[in-house]
Symmetry: C2
Subunit: 127 residues, 2 copies
């Protein structure tokens, strides 16, 4: 394997690996585009939230799924978890720099859908 250090350009040209079954990107994509992952990222784009704040904001999420989603996003390096050692417990969640970057992409997608919802609904009927 004569493998030179992959340049930024090479990486940019390497598109399409997501189509491969074993591509690690698929896992990340799965986390980020999961039912609650999307909403949590968008919610955190507005700033730091406590666990219960997020639970209230993201309608319909259960404690279990919120905790699980947050742990997952934290492990991927998108979410920062700060636990203040007080009683009662106080835990703050915010986006890391990477989290903000990917959050922008996700938010762009969500916003597009919200804005174009009328056209989409129309297309659904019209077709």
């Amino acid at each position: 394997m004569t493998q030179t250090k992959p340049s930024k350009l090479a990486e940019l040209l390497r598109r399409g690996e997501i189509f491969a079954v074993e591509c690690p990107s698929r896992e990340i994509l799965k986390h980020v585009t999961s039912r609650w992952g999307v909403l949590v990222l968008v919610a955190l784009m507005a700033g730091t939230h406590r666990f219960s704040d997020l639970r209230r904001k993201v309608g319909g999420v259960s404690e279990k799924m919120l905790a699980q989603t947050l742990q997952c996003l934290e492990k991927d390096g998108f979410v920062r978890r700060v636990s203040l050692p007080v009683v009662p417990p106080h835990v703050e969640y915010s986006l890391t720099p990477m989290g903000e970057e990917i959050g922008r992409k996700v938010e762009a997608l969500a916003d597009w859908i919200e804005i174009n919802l009328p056209q989409i609904m129309e297309a659904q009927r019209g077709a």
Copy 2:
């Protein structure tokens, strides 16, 4: 219902309805961010594909899920299906103008992940 025609600005400011359980956007978001929805949209960004082309390109997808995903995206108005009445059957799938728009958002997300995968993997270990 004294409902004035919602201005573009009003729509832009209406962010956050996705957080509501009953928001219709959630359904669309679900279709678009589904396991195979993302990959099909990105695949179709490269141009028209036949069913079996997509099946080959999108690694790991079963016939059932591909068909289901395509129908769903077609109903939402993102995918155009053209069936040529020949034998053997020949069916072409492509993106509608709306599909291209949302496809760009999805692709941007997928590309970001692929490009930043090294950093993500590093963060996973480092954290």
